[in-house]
């Protein structure tokens, strides 16, 4: 077995065992997976396609609401539920709860993918900073619109049904949902980045005008890529809604300055346009954030700002970019004469 395969198996085993070995860190680990998911999906457009979206948080927030509305709406009138603002008035059986969780999350993913197609058709004409600001506008507007809809609980947000069973096993379930989604996403991207499709979005990143001149269906590829990203973010949002039990629109769902920025920082930290960069970045960032938030309270935002400045000034390629410059042969850069055998990697 190759060293690479062993590494993957060890990581997978650690992923499965983690909540059982470190129950006290369940919430921490679940959030870590959420960071990995939003970082990996952000990198699909930001790193691989060259479209730096500041609006991916829109799909997170929308995923929360869609998941909640589906899960509640399957059994109760949503307007009355949110009006009561007390889930105790309506009781859900465990069967209803888990069905709602599954159908709601899947529905959230599909809804967000469709939303990405529509928003993308409107915003993919924008380039560079205009795309970033345009998508940020979508996310801000999304939060404002939702907080004005009484049927969705307005500015109060939505209280989700209470999870059945004891709370500790619920936390383990949430961990496995995030971890499972993250692993599926990672395996998908590992395959996806080797397809012709991925080559086309890399071409768009490197020179979109050239890609057009070569006959690549640029808009089609951009839309599909963003829709796939939105699908995973939407599902993650819905899982978060169930995890948090209560969420409100601006601070939790459409949290543009928290998670909306964190996902970008994770990717920049680890290295844009690589498979492992966002994962490594998410791990480092999350640990950094927990440490500063716990031991440096009051100064945490200053520390975070300093971290961003350091990355942007000194590590523009992130950690992966640093390795690539130091050890280009790891990444297959070499001169080869015809007939020479491939150098073992």
């Amino acid at each position: 077995m190759s060293r690479n395969a062993i590494l993957h198996i060890v990581l997978l085993a650690a992923t499965i065992a983690a909540p059982l070995l470190f129950p006290a860190y369940n919430a921490f680990l679940a959030t870590l997976w959420l960071f990995i998911i939003v970082a990996l999906t952000w990198d699909m457009t930001g790193g691989q396609m060259g479209y730096n979206s500041l609006g991916n948080i829109f799909f997170y927030g929308t995923g929360m609401y869609v998941g909640a509305v589906i899960a509640i709406g399957m059994y109760f009138p949503v307007g009355e539920w949110t009006d009561a603002a007390r889930s105790e008035l309506f009781l859900m059986s465990p069967g209803q709860y888990y069905t709602g969780l599954a159908v709601g999350s899947l529905g959230a993913g599909i809804f967000c993918a469709l939303a990405a197609l529509i928003i993308g058709a409107l915003t993919f004409g924008l380039r560079g900073p205009y795309f970033a600001i345009g998508t940020l506008g979508v996310a801000i507007a999304g939060g404002e619109i939702v907080s004005n809809i009484e049927w969705l609980g307005g500015g109060q947000g939505i209280s989700m049904p209470n999870p059945p069973g004891d709370f500790d096993s619920f936390k383990v379930l949430i961990y496995y949902l995030f971890a499972g989604l993250g692993v599926v996403l990672f395996i998908f991207l590992r395959w996806f980045y080797q397809t012709r499709f991925a080559a086309a979005i890399n071409a768009i990143r490197d020179d979109e005008e050239k890609a057009e001149a070569m006959g690549i269906h640029t808009l089609r590829y951009k839309l599909v890529t963003w829709a796939i990203a939105a699908f995973f973010v939407g599902i993650a949002g819905s899982i978060s809604a169930f995890q948090l039990i209560h969420f409100e629109p601006l601070e939790t769902a459409y949290q543009t300055i928290n998670l909306g920025i964190f996902m970008v920082v994770c990717v920049l930290l680890g290295g844009k346009g690589t498979l492992w960069g966002p994962v490594i970045g998410a791990v480092i960032f999350h640990v950094f954030k927990e440490v500063t938030w716990n031991y440096f309270l009051g100064g945490q935002w200053i520390a975070l700002g300093a971290l961003i400045v350091v990355i942007v000034v000194f590590f523009q390629g992130g950690l992966m970019g640093f390795f690539r410059r130091r050890f280009p042969e790891w990444f297959g850069v070499r001169v080869e004469t015809k007939g020479a055998t491939e150098t073992a990697s």
Binding site: A199, K210, A213, G215
Partner: protein
């Protein structure tokens, strides 16, 4: 032989600059056609108009009998009408093989087929074409680290990878070492004869274009000045005057 590109009465101006005025010409299917003219005479502008880079002010452009003057760049490229850039455009951050594999003809591919890896045949073709232009040894190097001339060759190979019907080349020999130019002429001719690609070439190097083209058009000040066989063009006093700057 019949015309595969028909440009009739095309005009294009930028603000007050009349880059192209009432230009009519045709490119024969299967042949090599040349386009010459002093700097700023509107050659690149005409290429840009043909491939849909900008809308034309008036006139008509037909490709295989079909009006294309209102179509967008990628749509025209997918018809099999491709161009290379005077400034040379390659994907600098990727290696040469990746540049080649990205250039597979997307018009022959559905969205589902895009979700597959490159086939061994595609890789073989990419390697073969890199060898054809003399870049095989560099195939795993970053394209951006190649010299300007090598990038021109790579861009040409990428265009070939796309299996175009017609290829518009904007100064293919600019920046190429004079000792390599003969090899390049040979390759361009083989692209035409062996791969059956119709070529329409902008070129400042008279020796090159006289050697290759069956028919040459000459622009000056945005207007069509003369056209004919290389011999006719060479002897045309108006062409000589335009190049020597006499009016």
């Amino acid at each position: 032989m019949s015309a595969i590109i028909e440009v009739s009465h095309v005009s294009k101006s930028f603000g007050g600059v009349h880059a192209n005025t009432d230009i009519s010409l045709s490119v024969e299917k299967g042949g090599i056609t040349g386009l010459i003219g002093p700097n700023g005479s509107g050659k690149t502008t005409l290429f840009n108009s043909i491939v849909g880079y900008h809308p034309i002010d008036s006139g008509s452009i037909r490709f295989e009998g079909r009006e294309i003057s209102r179509m967008l760049v990628p749509e025209i490229a997918r018809l099999g009408l491709l161009r290379t850039f005077q400034q040379t455009r390659i994907y600098g951050a990727m290696n040469c093989m990746q540049n080649m594999l990205i250039s597979i003809p997307h018009r022959k591919m559905t969205l589902w087929e895009a979700f597959r890896r490159n086939s061994p045949e595609e890789k073989e073709r990419a390697e073969h074409l890199l060898e054809f232009v003399g870049l095989y040894e560099k195939r795993l190097l970053q394209a951006g680290s190649l010299s300007f001339g090598q990038q021109k060759l790579l861009e040409f190979a990428m265009a070939m990878m796309n299996e175009p019907t017609v290829l518009l080349l904007d100064e293919p020999t600019a920046g190429i070492n004079p000792t390599l130019i003969n090899g390049l002429i040979d390759r361009l001719k083989r692209a035409n004869s062996e791969y059956g690609i119709t070529l329409f070439i902008i070129e400042h190097n008279m020796r090159v274009i006289m050697n290759m083209a069956e028919r040459i058009y000459c622009l000056a000040y945005g207007k069509l000045l003369a056209s004919g066989t290389p011999a006719e063009i060479q002897d045309d006093q108006r062409v000589i005057d335009a190049y020597l700057g006499a009016h």
